[in-house]
């Protein structure tokens, strides 16, 4: 054992002519929280669907918890828990029955099933809702129930596809807390998300995925540090000219223009560079409208590697969700 609980090599998946996942390889270490970060349509859900055995393995090799996906999909099924992107609860079952049903699917003996159901209801704080039909639960409670269901089989890896989509900020934080608690208890977590803050907050390791390919993999800090230690944002009246001047200055790693602003990634302390930059721009009679100094965020990392933001995709996603629920 090399400490990797998931090993994926050269995985590709196509729907007819549409190549959704293109030759991706990655490993997930036992006990970590690993995220696929990318916009909708990047291939995240397709990749996760292959790993959890819902889609057939077309190309590549996948090993999870020591089981080969091609040789022993049932071994994998017994080793993982899943929380799907969309709500997949039976509206006509109550909370307890939902967990019991799941336990039966995996042949968990009666007494053990009862015990785990009770423990999990306590974990996700749904004991007092045990006999309520799932149709009467709020969105956050449904998510918590689904997480509990995913843990029913005591999986080695818990897969979550967009776990906090459509939840309000408070509920999101609660879900994050549960996931951290579950992870502390030893469960490896694999999640997909298009929320930067989610990937940043939860993950030990992030793979940025776009157009079916993994673009870069690293810890949140490494990814952010590749952009430089600090990020200076300047808005001026002549951005192109300013960019030319600044890009050759000491300590500047890269200058990009986004939304009428200059993004200057610098090595070392930004607050030291900033006065020098302002002087230099003034000398060239470029008028500065605003100045901002910050640490790079996952947003910046994503923009840097994919060349685009996530804003448009988030809106798309919102409408898609509405259509599905409606």
């Amino acid at each position: 054992m090399n400490g990797n609980i998931i090993t994926v090599e050269h995985l590709s998946h196509a729907y007819g002519d549409l190549q959704a996942v293109r030759n991706i390889s990655f490993t997930v270490k036992k006990g970590e929280i690993f995220s696929f970060l990318g916009p909708n349509g990047a291939g995240k859900s397709t990749a996760i669907s292959v790993l959890i055995t819902l889609l057939s393995l077309q190309q590549g090799t996948v090993t999870i918890a020591g089981y080969d996906l091609k040789e022993n999909p049932n071994g994998i099924r017994r080793s993982i828990g899943i929380v799907f992107q969309e709500i997949t609860l039976d509206r006509d079952m109550n909370v307890r029955e939902t967990l019991e049903f799941h336990g039966r699917l995996y042949n968990i003996p009666h007494d053990e099933r009862k015990k785990r159901t009770q423990n999990l209801l306590e974990l996700v704080e749904l004991e007092d809702k045990a006999d309520v039909l799932t149709r009467h639960l709020s969105g956050g409670m449904k998510r918590r129930l689904e997480i509990a269901r995913g843990l029913m089989t005591r999986p080695e890896v818990l897969f979550l596809d967009e776990p906090t989509i459509g939840l309000d900020p408070q509920t999101r934080m609660r879900v994050w807390e549960y996931l951290e608690e579950v992870n502390r208890a030893g469960t490896t977590i694999f999640l997909t998300t298009h929320y930067m803050d989610e990937a940043d907050h939860l993950s030990d390791e992030i793979a940025i995925i776009d157009h079916g390919k993994i673009i870069v993999t690293g810890t949140p800090d490494t990814l952010k540090n590749t952009l430089g230690e600090d990020l200076i944002v300047i808005a001026s009246d002549q951005n192109e000219r300013a960019a030319e001047i600044l890009s050759v200055m000491d300590g500047v790693k890269e200058v990009t223009i986004r939304n009428d602003e200059l993004l200057i990634m610098v090595t070392g302390d930004g607050s030291v560079h900033l006065p020098v930059f302002i002087q230099e721009l003034s000398r060239h009679e470029i008028q500065i409208n605003s100045v901002n100094l910050k640490k790079p965020s996952m947003d910046d990392v994503f923009l840097h590697y994919t060349g685009r933001g996530l804003r448009a995709e988030e809106t798309d996603n919102g409408t898609k969700e509405q259509k599905r629920r409606g």
Partner: protein, 277 residues
């Protein structure tokens, strides 16, 4: 031993018992047929059929004749909707969870057929009891032991027929996306089956072409089995002399058996092809 299908069975039965509307409506429909259509037709037809009765042969009322048809009809309409829940599971519910679990896929259709058969048995029992109340003469002249055997025979026929149609229903539900489409197809299937059968009238009175169709209609074979056990092997009804030999009953049983096997294969093929993501 693994009884994975029992998980699916239990879940479907829980819904059946929990949501009384499904239970009640499935029991009220046959009652309405018997009480209104049956009684009205009987009061007209019995005058004619009594005139053509053969001395020494049991002459049964139209209500008794039709009682067997109502059991069959109820079984048909319940069973053809037996797999409907899978369409909802696939589009909006549990199917992902089930498909990603180690549960063998055949257990999905076996479980759902099991609950379909159970529902049909419940309905059959209720229709028989309600019919006896209304004046349906089932099991006349049968000893208590023979009545038990007759019940067993009816249950066997109902089970095969019901399982076959639930398999068909499951296969359709798994291959379709819209509930409306499913309802359209099932209505299109069940109405001709119902009318081109011996459920409401003897097929010997039908035009030849319809008789030929009725011979391969599983519903006719179910009705023949039920009448054999509930009424007898030699009787007159609606002016027709109906004689059923044990050989013919075995043929009907065989036809239903083949029907179940074919429908199971169809359902298995569809469930193995189903992809949900």
């Amino acid at each position: 031993m693994e009884f994975g299908f029992f998980t699916v069975y239990l879940r479907d039965m829980t819904r059946y018992v929990r949501f009384r509307t499904q239970l009640l409506s499935s029991l009220i429909m046959p009652a309405v047929w018997l009480a209104f259509f049956g009684v009205s037709m009987a009061s007209n037809l019995d005058r004619l059929s009594d005139a053509s009765a053969i001395p020494g042969v049991l002459n049964i009322s139209y209500l008794t004749f039709m009682g067997a048809g109502v059991i069959a009809m109820t079984t048909l309409f319940t069973s053809i909707y037996g797999g409907f829940v899978l369409l909802f599971d696939k589009n909006w519910g549990l199917m992902r969870e089930i498909m990603a679990s180690p549960l063998p896929r055949r257990d999905i259709v076996i479980g759902i057929a099991g609950s379909g058969v159970t529902k049909s048995w419940i309905q059959t029992t209720v229709v028989i009891l309600f019919g006896l109340l209304l004046g349906v003469h089932f099991f006349t002249g049968q000893s208590p032991l023979r009545t038990v055997v007759s019940f067993g025979g009816i249950f066997l026929f109902v089970a095969l027929f019901s399982a076959g149609f639930v398999f068909l229903s499951a296969a359709l539900a798994l291959s379709m996306d819209s509930p409306e489409g499913f309802q359209g197809i099932t209505t299109l299937l069940t109405m001709p089956l119902f009318f081109v059968s011996n459920a409401l009238y003897p097929i010997t009175g039908l035009p030849q072409i319809l008789q030929d169709i009725a011979v391969v209609n599983p519903l006719s074979h179910l009705v023949r089995g039920i009448r054999y056990f509930a009424i007898g092997d030699d009787f007159t009804a609606v002016g027709m002399h109906i004689v059923t030999t044990p050989g013919e009953v075995l043929i009907s049983l065989g036809v239903l058996f083949i029907f179940v096997v074919i429908m199971f294969a169809f359902a298995l093929r569809q469930v193995n092809r189903t992809v949900v993501t």
